[in-house]
Every structure is written in structure tokens, then in C-alpha cells.
Symmetry: D2
Subunit: 427 residues, 4 copies
């Protein structure tokens, strides 16, 4: 389904006077501090986050899964769902495919369908952490790191196939996340596992088109519970460094040990030009994969503070990072959950754009942590919602995406079209 543009407009019109007032007031306040609201609104309009194809259905835990209704059963439905998100938020202009869950049957038609929703295909994702029904070798004991060369070869070939699909759709990067690791002390030879993974990645890297990038994701644990081959950014960076210029680290917010200073990792990787991509979610305990900003919005702001710093640094050779939401929607309607995530991401981005970087740098050079904190918090405490609303308004999205989604009964319509019991592939 697609939402009737006029209906969005009608809802916007009702809310317009209040929005105008708030936006104007905020513009005045910011203007007095030297910030140009219009320029910020432009940046917010440009900022697009990819939605992965597996994130449109209800997720689950090892204890079970509680389906919702109207879930997308096909790739076409999934593209339509991202299209809905984009129509409302004007921030979800890309889709990130997960192979083999979402293999396009007709590449050209798939591209055209996506384009009709204003969507492009961002990084593609391989999957060697599950066995597929017709698979020759099992990944129970690893894939790219497996002791058996035949298993590694199968996993490498799968990645090469993923690249092929991505290339046909216009993607320009491959994200490799490995579950490879061990659940028991002694199970794995750490050094051999690293070397085998490196060799496998080298084959994949060699098989990428010349304008592609390879993103190496890291994660400290789960689904393995003692070790993972790529346990942290240091290991990911070591691999990316050995692979070549077009290999980068990818940071997933949920893939860190308790209390990790993630913003410093972001700064470090950008400093050496090696931050390739970023996966958004939030968590309290582990890789909980809940809605972005649901728990630690200030941490998200601090991370964006470094991202903006890196992106705006003229001396940096870090490429523009690939953004993606990587969350699991166990309890909420996935589309509402994603709208909340998109909002949280852009709030943090907008707040980071309001940091007075000159003053901040001066406070740092003067060893004045109290003032540095005042500067950061002045930006963070600003209610930037009117900026986001304005960006959406200008792009013909909804002033209030979730409000519109609910008032327009989108989920009900999806259930009518698709039924109560569809299960998304990959869930």
C-alpha cells in the first residue's frame, strides 16, 4: 500500500499553525546563538537511514516469538513497508537486503519498485550464521573461520553471490557479520580462527567490484558465548587494515561490552579513515536490539557529536558512513518502532549540529570541563523536534509520522491486505 499524499497533507495542515510557531521561536533562539536553522533543516532532509529487509516483521527471542498482523511476506511487501516509512518520515530512503532471506527474483522489477518508492539499495548483508535447508555444509562450528576448508569455501561463495545480487541492484558495499566463535574455553584456536577468517575475507574482498566497500562488523558475544572471532573494534580494524583500502570497520551500537565508550571508538576509526558503517539500535543489557534512543539518548548524541565532527573535518579521508537501523521488533508494531528509531536518530543528529564546535574546542584547550559540558548540554537540551518536523514538511512527509500512521490506520489496512498470520522470511 501507499498512503494518499493528500491525507498526509490534511493532517499536516491541521498541525501547521502550532508547528510554525514553535519552529519560528526555535529559529529565533538558535539564530541569536549563531545557528542557521535553514541550513540545519537542509542537512536533516539529506540524512537518510537504510532499513534492513528483515526488520519489517516481528522479531523474537530464544524463548519464543509473538507475531503481529499484516507482516510483509514477500520482498515486494517489504519494499512497500520501507516505502511507507519513507513517505511518512522522509528519512528512510534506502533498503538493505539480507541474502538469502530476500533474494530478488526479477532484479529489474525490484529496482523499479524500489525507485517508485524513492528508495535505493544500500549495503547488502550475507548470512553464514544459519543453515539453509539445501545447504551442503553446516555452519554449526563456524563459517569463514571453519576448520574445514570446504565449509569456508561455501561461505566465501555465498558472500560472492550476495555481492552479485547487490551489484545488480545498485548496492556499493557488503556488510559481513559473523557469528563465528566458540561457546567453550578450548573449543577454538584463536589464532587459526583469525587467520582463516582473514584468508576468507581476502577472497571475498578480491571478488568485489572495484567501487565496492567491505564492512567488517564486530561483536563480543552471542550467539557464541565464550568467544567470537571478531570480538571488538581492534580485531575488526586489524582485519580491515590487512584487507586493503576499501575495507572498513562497522560499528553496531549493541555490539559492545558493558560501559564501553563507543563514541571514542567512532572518533578513533574516523581519525584513521576506517569507519565504514553504523548500525543503530539501543540496549540496556546486551545486544537487546530495542528502539534507537529508547534507553540512552545522551550516548547517541555523544556518538553523533563525534560522527558530525568526523564528517565535517576537511582533513579526514573517512568515507561518508553507511547508516542502518538494526533492531528487533518483538513487542511493538515494527513500522511504529522504526519510525521511533528514525526520529531518535535525527534528533541526535540535529542536536549534534547545534554544538558550538569553536567554543567547545576552546574550552578543551583551556582544560575547562565544566564549560565543555555546558556547551554539549546546551545543544542536547534544546528541543529540536521542530527542526525535524520542518525538514519532513518541506520534503512532503508527515509533521507527526507516528500520529499520521495511527490516524490513517495503516496497520489495519495492511492486515486487511495481507492477513493476520503472515510471517516474514528470516524470522
Amino acid at each position: 500500500m501507499r498512503i494518499d499524499k493528500q491525507k498526509i497533507k490534511q493532517l499536516n495542515d491541521q498541525a501547521l499553525p502550532e508547528h510554525r510557531e514553535s519552529f519560528d521561536h526555535l529559529s529565533d533562539v538558535l539564530g541569536r546563538k549563531g545557528f542557521d536553522s535553514k541550513a540545519i533543516v537542509e542537512k536533516l532532509k539529506e540524512f537518510q537511514v537504510a532499513v534492513p529487509s528483515w526488520a519489517l516483521g516481528t522479531g523474537g527471542t530464544r524463548f519464543g516469538r509473538f507475531s503481529g498482523g499484516g507482516e510483509p511476506g514477500t520482498l515486494e511487501d517489504k519494499i512497500a513497508d520501507v516505502g511507507l516509512l519513507h513517505q511518512l518520515s522522509k528519512s528512510a530512503g534506502a533498503i538493505s537486503l539480507h541474502i538469502p532471506w530476500d533474494i530478488p527474483e526479477d532484479v529489474q522489477a525490484t529496482k523499479e519498485l524500489a525507485a517508485s518508492h524513492g528508495l535505493i539499495f544500500d549495503a547488502v548483508n550475507s548470512n553464514t550464521f544459519q543453515d539453509q535447508p539445501d545447504q551442503e555444509h553446516s555452519y554449526k562450528f563456524g563459517s569463514l573461520c571453519h576448520a574445514d576448508k570446504e565449509v569456508r569455501k561455501q561461505a566465501v561463495n555465498h558472500n560472492l553471490e550476495v555481492i552479485k545480487y547487490g551489484d545488480a541492484l545498485g548496492s556499493k558495499s557488503l556488510t559481513v557479520w559473523l557469528a563465528d566463535g566458540s561457546s567453550f574455553p578450548g573449543q577454538l584456536n584463536f589464532k587459526k580462527a583469525f587467520q582463516r577468517t582473514l584468508e576468507s575475507l581476502q577472497e571475498i574482498y578480491a571478488g568485489m567490484p572495484a567501487d565496492w566497500k567491505l564492512f567488517v562488523e564486530y561483536k563480543p558475544y552471542e550467539p557464541n558465548f565464550y568467544s567470537t572471532v571478531i570480538q571488538d573494534w581492534g580485531t575488526s580494524h586489524m582485519l580491515a587494515d590487512k584487507l586493503g583500502d576499501r575495507a572498513y570497520s562497522l560499528v553496531d551500537l549493541g555490539h559492545h561490552l558493558p560501559n564501553t565508550n563507543i563514541e571514542q571508538i567512532v572518533a578513533t576509526l574516523m581519525m584513521v579513515g576506517k569507519l565504514g558503517g553504523f548500525h543503530f539500535n539501543d540496549s540496556k543489557y546486551g545486544d537487546d536490539d530495542v528502539t534507537v534512543g529508547a534507553l540512552k539518548p545522551y550516548q547517541l548524541f555523544l556518538i553523533f557529536n563525534e560522527l558530525v565532527d568526523g564528517m565535517e573535518d576537511p582533513s579526514s579521508d573517512n568515507p561518508y558512513p553507511a547508516w542502518m537501523i538494526d533492531a528487533s521488533h518483538n513487542l511493538k508494531d515494527p513500522l511504529e518502532d522504526l519510525l521511533q528509531s528514525l526520529e531518535a536518530i535525527k534528533l541526535a543528529y540535529a542536536q549534534a549540529l547545534l554544538v558550538d564546535r569553536t567554543a567547545l574546542e576552546e574550552a578543551r584547550e583551556n582544560n575547562d570541563p565544566a564549560l565543555a559540558q555546558e556547551i554539549l548540554q546546551a545543544a542536547y537540551r534544546t528541543d529540536v523536534r521542530p527542526l525535524l518536523a520542518e525538514a519532513r514538511l518541506q520534503a512532503e512527509g508527515a509533521l507527526d509520522p507516528i500520529g499520521a500512521y495511527r490516524r490513517l490506520n495503516v496497520r489495519k489496512e495492511l492486515i486487511t491486505q495481507r492477513g493476520e498470520k503472515v510471517i516474514s522470511t528470516g524470522l
Copy 2:
């Protein structure tokens, strides 16, 4: 299948001379320190740990599941598997049923089958964290704490039914573990959730036979990722305290925040007579549910040090705790995994029996932490494997359970009988 007793004996006979030598040497060493090896062997023979009916198959994570072969497809097969464990280890003399996964069709036959393996039925477990196909109300948003009275009623009735099955089989206790909680700030009214849970538990408590006990398990997170209704021992204890004399807390090793001093919780609960049961497993990150003793054997020893202290305290009115292994077997053969867990548990128990408690108490009263540590470590560093082997030998188990399991090709035989692709109920 059952293992031919003669085969176990043959294997034991081969290993007997070396075992005798090691046991005699250890007996001498311990004797000089005032410990009676025979008395310790007797205690080890008496110590039995329940195996839950769901633990005989291959487990999984939210990312997938890699089956093994020869898994038990029926309750009868599961009882047979526990029977094998008990035959080899002489330590797994009880089975803990999980309803609705393992509802006995013919109670009398089930009891007799178990008895023929030397097994009794320990605590029964209810399940209100998943929806069953024919279920009227969903537990997506909780069970005993649910906002809707009808859902709570359904969950209470399920527990009453579980008690009924358990009573028929000879069980004397019910373990309630709740997934109830919330994944997002704001989702739950903490106080209402507690009160509703309390009321539901009161109905269940009232429905237990007069000689039954209720065990209230706690867990800080997962499958909910922001809060759980019974987040810690304090909450569990508050509930047990309000419920009555036959309600107790149950400690699961994996259900704690990082770095929790679990042994102190054990001591505290036993001090007030409220430790009802104990679930064994091990973990590095969260509720990883790996083999007992695979990661923190010294912590397990410290916990047993408190358990032994509580069990041997004549002034304590704490009941003898219900022991159960609660682990997930994702990578190893489940039976080998359980044999390793049983071994680790009894090693820790044996070491705890070797703590010189009089000397320890004296060191404590003298504020001598170095000496207290020496006393604990002297017990822990002792190689107590000959004590366990001797206990098994006297009970006609295997001197080397895993060795026997492998040399007798038990898994191969199970696969022959049951096939490669059976999936256990509940997995």
C-alpha cells in the same frame, strides 16, 4: 536404550588399578588433615541433581538452531536419556518436567518407567512465556502480571494444571519462572505489575497440596530487555515472604547482573530459611546457559561453600534445596554436556566438603583474610576426582562417565534407534 551393566563394569575394571592408587593416595592425604574420605564418598553418593525434560535436545539462540541426531522425541525417550545419564553418573536420579512440553499421557506408566531407571520426579515447571497453538489469550504482554484479568486467570489455571500433573507423578514442588516484564521504559507500571503477580501467585499457592513448596525464580532481563517483574532476589524474597511458609526463592546461576556476589545471596536466603531451589549452569556474559563449571569453577565452589554451610547448620530451618541443571546445549551432544555439568557440580560439592570450617571460622574471628583464603584454596586445589569416581564405582556407575559414553557409542546407538532428525518438544 539402556547400557548393559556388564559393559560399564568391564570399562571400570580396566581403570580400577589406577583409580585405587589415586583414591588411596588421596585418602591418606586427606586423612592426615582430619577428613574421612569414606564419609565424603557417602555424601557424594547421596547427592542427586534433577535433569529437566527439555534439556535432552539441542538448544538454540534467536539466530538459529543446529540440530544434533538421535534426540528424544517423546517423554519416554527423555526419561530414557536421563536414565542413561544416571546409569553412568549415578548423580542424575531425578527428572524435572516442563508443562506443556512434556505432559504425561499415562501417569502410572510414566511413573513406572521412571522408577525402572531409578528416577523420581522433582519440581515441575510451568510455562507462561510462550503461546501454545490452542491458547485463548496471548502472553505477549505478560502472564501473571498481565493488565487483563482474563489473561492472568488463564496463566493461574495453567499453573494449577501443572501442579495436578506433578502431584500425580509424585512431585512436591512447583517452580515458577516468569518472562513477565517490559522491553521499553514506560511500558509497565512497576507497582501494578508486582501487585498483580503477587495476587496470581497467591491463587497458585492456595491451589498447591499441603505438602508442596512453591519456588519463585528471579531474572534481571531476557526475554524482556528493560525490566522484569521479578528482577532480583530481593523481589523474589518479598513475594515469597508475602506468600507464606511454603514459598521460597529459587536461584539460577545465570540470572544475575554482571559481577553479582551470588554466594552471598545464597547465604542470606539460607539464613532466613528461604532458599528453595538452585538451577545450575555457567555463563560469561548473560544467561548463556553453558555447561556448569565451564567458565567459573571457583565461583561454583564458593557457592557450594555457602550451600554446605547452610545445609550443615543445625540451627537453620532452610529445607534441603531442590537441585536442577538448567543449561542449553547448542553445540555439544546434550548428554555429554550434562555429564560434564554433573561432574562439575559434584567436584565443587566435594571441594566444599573439604573446607576446614573450624579453622575457617577461627581465621574469620581473628580478621585473618590471608589464612581464610589459604583454607578455602587448600580445599579447592585438591584434586577430588578420585572421590567422585569412587562414589560412582560404589554405586555401580562408570568410573569415567564420558569416556564410557564415547567408548560404548551411546549416541550412535541412539541415532540408529531414533534417527537423525527428531526434534525434542519445546525446542
Copy 3:
């Protein structure tokens, strides 16, 4: 020193037009959502947080301490410093004494001095975690839990003396924080330590005036690194419950294991009427004691959401909690640090007052976590700084306390008066 009122007024006058505009805009916005800004401003004016007497100097770590200048060397100076904080913020209307660091020599004069600054004396704090030069017995191995009855007696008597001083000054409560515990497995008999602590606390409780309250603080570790006698809220509550109606638990934000859901603890304790006090600070790793709100402002808001819920619950019999800042100022000017903490606390309080509790409760009863989150975040994302500024303005404080502090060169003046090298008692 005291700041000339006129100077504060002058600074306020300059900022007044902008403040008026922002406040009026916010009042309009809130008014449309059904909130009465004036009523909220009144609540903010009433809300006062105690500053402890030891928090006015530069703190340190075990690795060292880097002094600042102009620190208060006497109790009189400390009272003056809190007076300055209160003059600027109108939120620091109480002082919390720490004995033996700040024993008043002339009680009447001390009371009058405090009153002249608009300050009252809140909870008094005992110290049995350090040895004083003239002390008979050492607390190296504990105080209220010590194996030696004479040491326990000394510690009890110290607490009784603290009560005596507090009583003379008008305090109505005693906070007991114990470092008692152990750094090595085996060192302590957990049960004896608990029982001895309980008996000691009973003696202290018996020695309190009839209108006094006893606050039992908990902490999982540090300065002991294996166990503490009162490791968590469950233990604290067990003690408070056994002590009597006027004994309560006290929550310090930094005294929890990683990832603890503190807001649920707050809700639980208020539910049973047993939350006595609250110590504010912030932390990323352990009991880091940094500026309130410097790291996890959303968590602080969630906690205030529960505090407000409990305080506004007519059915609750929980007393109004005692608020105190308990932070260490290692790098910042302590007065600036405290002003930032006061601001962060009141921001969270104001945001919590903006939660639409009726709508929230409805979303909860409807199992609508997305909406519940929207409601909480709508409050949190509101820029409530104008409400705080208005409250200060009406109370004749500074619109911008830190700005005023810097522009009026307060620290420079303090250094002139007191010198560069004074060291506060207790540091």
C-alpha cells in the same frame, strides 16, 4: 562571602527579555497540552536538595588528588559555600553534615549562620569507614559488623554521638553508609556479619529521638572488593524491615551493579513505603561520583518519573524522601560542579512533572508500549530550562547560575579570601 543581591539582579535583568519570550512560548505549548506552568514553577521552587559538607572541596582517587584553590577550610566556610550555591540556584537549601569531619563547635552559632543563608540541616552522616587519629579500635576489618564486640560498640557510640550533634542542629534523620565487607572470598562469615550489623543498627535505632528516621544505604563494592555487608536494596530493605517503622532504605545512584534497573527499585521501595532518601550523582563504570546528569540524563528522568509517581500517589505512605548530592569533584570547580548537578536534578524533576500520567496509565493498560514511550519522551524532549529559570527568578536566584558565578568571579574572590592551598576536612 555572599554575593551582592543587586549584582544577581543586574545579570538577570539583562537576560530577562529572552527568558520571558522562551518562558511564555513554553507556557503556551504546555498549556495546550493541559499543563499549568505556574503550578510546575511552584513545585520547582519548593524542591530543595541537600549539599553535604564534604562536597565543597576537590575530591580525589586512590591515585592522587589535584587541589583547587579557595576551598573551605572550616565548617563556617562550608556553610558559606552552600549559601552561595543556594543564593544562585535557590535549590540548595539544606546542608548535610558529616561527622567527625565537620563537628560544630558552637551549635547555636552554627545554626544561626546556616539560617542566615537560608539553610537547614538535613540528614547527618556517620563515618566508620576511616580511622580517626585518636580512635581506640581500628575499622580496618569492619565497624558495625566487626567480629570484635568492642569495635562494634565504638562504632555504635559514634553513631549515637552523630545523632546528638544532628539533634542539636535540627536534623531529623541519620544516614548510615557502611564500608563493611570483605575483599577476599572466605574473609567474612556472611551470616554473622549480617546479624552483627543488624544488632548494631538496632542499638543505634533505639538511640534515635522519637521523630527521627534511620536511612540504611547499600553498595555492592568499594572500598571492599569481594563483598559488602549491605550489598543491595534487598539486604538494605531486610534490615530496615527488621529495624522498625522509622528505618528506611537509601538509594545512591552510583551504588549498583552494571545495568541495574534503578527506577524499578525506587518504585518497589516506595510501593512498600520504605524509600527514605536518595543520593544523586552519575557514573559510567562504578561509583564514579561525577556530576549528576553528565552521562545518563534519561535514566535520571526515568527515576524521577517513579519518584513523582510515588510522591503524588495519595495511597502511598512513603515519607517525602531526603535528597542529597553525593558526588566527588576531582576536576571541576566544586561549586560549578554542584550547580550543574542541581540543574540536572531539577531538569529531570520538571520533565517528570510533564508526563501525562493519565494517558500513560491508559497506554499501559492497553499494552501499547509504543504509545507509552511517546508519552515519556514527549515530556523528556521538552526543553524545560525556562521553567527552572523562572523558578529561580521568582525566588530571587540567578537566571543563569553558572554564568553568574563566572561573571561575578566568585572563585577568584574565594581564593583571595581563603588562599590557594586550603584543604577541606575529610579530603
Copy 4:
């Protein structure tokens, strides 16, 4: 003081028959498994751990310090204390100096004194985390990373001076641990801090003699509570990599976030030839610095399993690591504490030497985690204390070092010589 050799021999003679019996029994058991006890005893005799000069006195926390008696007040006394440890344990044959706490006045005499105790000087340590009385610039806001070039220069010069002292004494390496970092978000520009640190380290590196090594230590937090410049092994390795061939990472067991897989870090660094040194201690919560092996002896074994693997790998170009105990002795007699640490280290080493590496590698290649665990645990569960005792006996140390220390009243004698109230420099 020095212990009379004859007294140690007398004590050994009394315990000899029991020791012989246990050692012979163990040799038989190990021999049947293919291990040569004599060869292992030789390796244990060779293994020496440095004791830092600051570890001989009573440590403290930010809450206070409880002195013991007979502490060493001079460098000579400290050397004598390490001499005592070495005499008893024959494992503490090196001392690691900390400048400026322990500047030798007469280098030649100091060298001779150490040699007379059988001690050499291992890695020297600089200190730029505290201000010394006569210091021009403060390290309050960092040292090698400081915003002010003059401060960095002072810190570099201090390191060059430390090298000079070390060189004179025969040391061959410098350990740099930095407290540099920030306690508040915003305080530090992560990238500038890294670059400045790198430049400072380059100057130090350039100032080292050609046969010296530089060890770059990392730590995630404390005494800074938001960020540290060298937060993890990845950052340390990046620095060491940029510095040159003679720069290495140094791992301190307590300097990791909760649940870090340290053994994998060790394996990774040795794989790339970049593990320079290792600091031993143990901890439950943070950098608790308690006795080695007091809490997680199995983790220590797993780490030694990797260390042995790396040391015995003929293809590895990793240098032999520098070992040091880095613990704080707050409650125990420091010498007893160090003897316990030495014992725990060598137990783990001995157990790691008993791992059947051929069988382990085979189990790994066969994806047999159960067998791999059996192999590791078979080594770990062996009571290797007789091997350590035999190594000491052959080297003329004490069969039972702590027993001897207590029976010979060493502490009492030290108190008689030095008094009750000496405070070690640096504490």
C-alpha cells in the same frame, strides 16, 4: 633482614616425607599421561615474576588507608622485602622500580644490594599521574596528551629520566601507564589526545637505548571516569604499531571492561608479535587489584594456556614477556599477599604446561568442544602443588612459603627492626 637458610631447611625437612610421597604419586600419574615431571619442574624453577617497588607497603582506596607495621621506608628495605619473597618462593627474582617514588641514590650500591638477594631490575615505570611537590606543571588534565606543549614536554622528560635510571640499573624496558583521559563528555578531543600522546611516545621511544623495549599499557577507566586516551588493547596496539618494532602492548589483568575475553587478546597480540608484558592481579568489579587467583583462577589458567601456546610456538616472533605483579595490599600483610599471588601464578603456569596440546588441536580440528573442554579441565583439575613445592625445594626455597613466613615470625621481626608506623613511599 634475611632469613637464615638453615631455618628454611629445617622446616622443609619436617615436611619432606609427605612432599616426597605426593610428588612421586603425581609424577607417576603424569608420567602415565606422557608428561615429564622433571622437565616441568625445571620450567617452574626458571619462571620469575617481578615485584614492583611500591607493592611492599599497605595500599589504600579513595576512602582511606589502614597501615600495617614493619613496612619498608627506603628503597633498600624494599629490595630486602623482595629478597625475602625470593628466598621463600624462588619465584620473585626481579624488582620493578617506580620513579619518582624509588630513585636510587647510589646506583652501584643498589645494584649490588639487589644482586646479593639474587634480584635483577626488570621494567622501570614512570609516573605522570600524580603531581610531585616540586613539579612545575600539573598533570591534573593529562600528561603525554596534555593540551599544553610544555606539560607534555615535562612528562616526556620525566620518562627519559626514568630510562636513564633504569639503564644504570640494568633494566631493559620502560612501562608507560597513563591516567590521561577525561571524566566528562566533551572534556577531551579524542583525536587530538591520541595524536599528542603518539607524538610524546615517539619522543620517549627515540630516547630509549637501542636494546630497550617500550610497553604501552591500556586501561578503560580510573582515575578518569569517562574516557582514557588508551582505553583498550586496540588503541595500545595502534600506538605500538606506529611507534616501531620495539614498542609493545602490555596487558594488566584488571584493566578490562566486565566480561572481556582477555585470553583472546593475549593470543591475538602474541600472534602479531606485540605482547610485551603482563601485569598480574585479580578482580571482581573493576581494577580491584586483589591477590592473583583470589577470584578467577580458571581465567588465569586460560590466559596461561595462551601464553604457553605463544611462548612455545617456534614460528612466533613475540619476545619473552615481562611478568609483574601489580596488586594493592589493603588488608593482608603485603608479603603474604605477594606470596599467595606468586603461588597462584605458578599454579596456573604449571596447569597450562599439563595441557595435551596435540590432543587439543585435534579436538579443535574435529569440532569437538566437549573433548576440548575435557582436555583443558583435566590439566586444570590436577593438583599441581607438589610440582611447585619440588621446584622450590630444588632451588633451596621453602616447601611452604607462607607457612615458613608465619612460623619464622618474619613480620614480627620486620616490625621490631622498622617500627609500627613507617609508610612506604608512593602510598
